[in-house]
Amino acid sequence: MSDRYQRQSFLGAGSQEKIERAKVGVVGIGGGGSHIVQQLAHIGFQDYVLYDPQTVEDTNLNRLVGAKVTDIGKEKRMVAKRLIKGLQTKARILTIADRWQNVSEPLMFCDLVFGCLDTFQDRDEIETFCRRHLILYIDIGMDIHEAEKDPPRMAGQVILSAPGAPCMKCLGFITPERLANEAAKYGAAGPHPQVVWPNGVLASSAVGLAVNALTTWTAKVSAPAYLSYDGNLGLVGIHPKAEYMDSTICEHYPLGKVGAPIFQLI
């Protein structure tokens, strides 16, 4: 192990090799994704697939990790790539300026995928994709609800979704009602409130789950993992749904249906 990683040798023998061997996908390199990318680079990940079609705007600079004022107008992917290369000069980085649904092949070969997406629909789709291809999926997201008389409520989640284990639907995070409400509001949603520190909390938790999944340094790997974040209190804890699951098997993504879709002629 190189001297650089001496302080993380507690992750166990062979841990650095596992980290360097893993191919990680990050879908969305905005507020949350940029934190994730930064941490992955520090830890030593070498193989990245990054999706984001957007360019940096002034309104991103309150939270886009690695971005500078001179980056306004440049692609967010470029900022992420520069950040990674600044720490990992030999990293293999594929950046894609499109939705993953339009260029899905590179994502297929990722061992784990971080989803930093805005909508339940997007989360549903990417989880389905990851389940089909036996990819570990880690989702992060936050929201700030502004109320008329009360202070805003800040909340977020980190969910690890693993093949065979309960999915985001089983956990009650993605529901038909949420998908329906989202479809009904299509086009009407304005920019969501966003700020840097909750993204950092959530991204750090997500990266922690990922490193544990690869190295098993805690000697305990559980799936699903569902962490909920109360931004007003500054607390991250296990969501009650994860603690009191009725079943440990996912009914939405049976393992017998992995791989290419099977269209049954009828």
Partner: protein, 162 residues
């Protein structure tokens, strides 16, 4: 892209438990992974495991394990019934990297080719497990040459590279 095989951990554990069981005369056991293609030929995923029942082994002093026609027919039938390829799997009882023996290379490729004759749109192959590693080759749809699997990973809440 390198040829990649992913196995759900509980399926691998099922296989290991089965392959470790003693048999009355066979030195080794064999089994079959069910495998599914994806829309990218170089990524193949395992969807299940089928054991070979005790009675379907044949005595053969030249091989650690020899399965009979019934076992082979069952594997061929699974291709048609489940729309999944068949990957012949057995276990070399040691730590560290592993690979095919001479006997493995003598018999198994022909078996896999017969799988391809049943359905060439599906991948079929051979995987050999050691206690800590795995080696494998696949016959991909539309190809006639076995290709070595470059990355075998086991997926659950964690990820393990074999």
């Amino acid at each position: 892209m390198q040829l990649t095989l992913r196995i759900p951990k509980y399926v691998l554990e099922q296989a290991r438990q089965d392959l470790a069981r003693p048999h009355s005369f066979a030195f080794e056991r064999v089994g079959f992974f069910r495998c599914r293609p994806t829309i990218q030929p170089k990524l193949v995923v395992i969807s299940g495991y089928d054991a070979v029942p005790d009675g379907e082994y044949m005595f053969d002093s030249t091989a650690g394990a020899c399965i009979g026609a019934t076992a082979i027919q069952s594997a061929l039938q699974r291709i048609l019934t489940h729309g999944s390829g068949q990957v012949h799997v057995h276990w070399h009882e040691h730590d560290g990297p592993t690979g095919p023996s001479r006997t493995d290379l003598r018999d198994q490729p022909r078996l896999v080719q017969s799988f391809q004759n049943v359905d060439e749109t599906l991948p079929h192959g051979i995987v050999i497990l050691s206690n800590t590693h795995a080696w494998g080759v696949l016959l991909l749809p539309g190809t006639k040459r076995f290709q070595e699997i470059k990355k075998i990973s086991v997926v659950s809440g964690g990820i393990e590279f074999l």
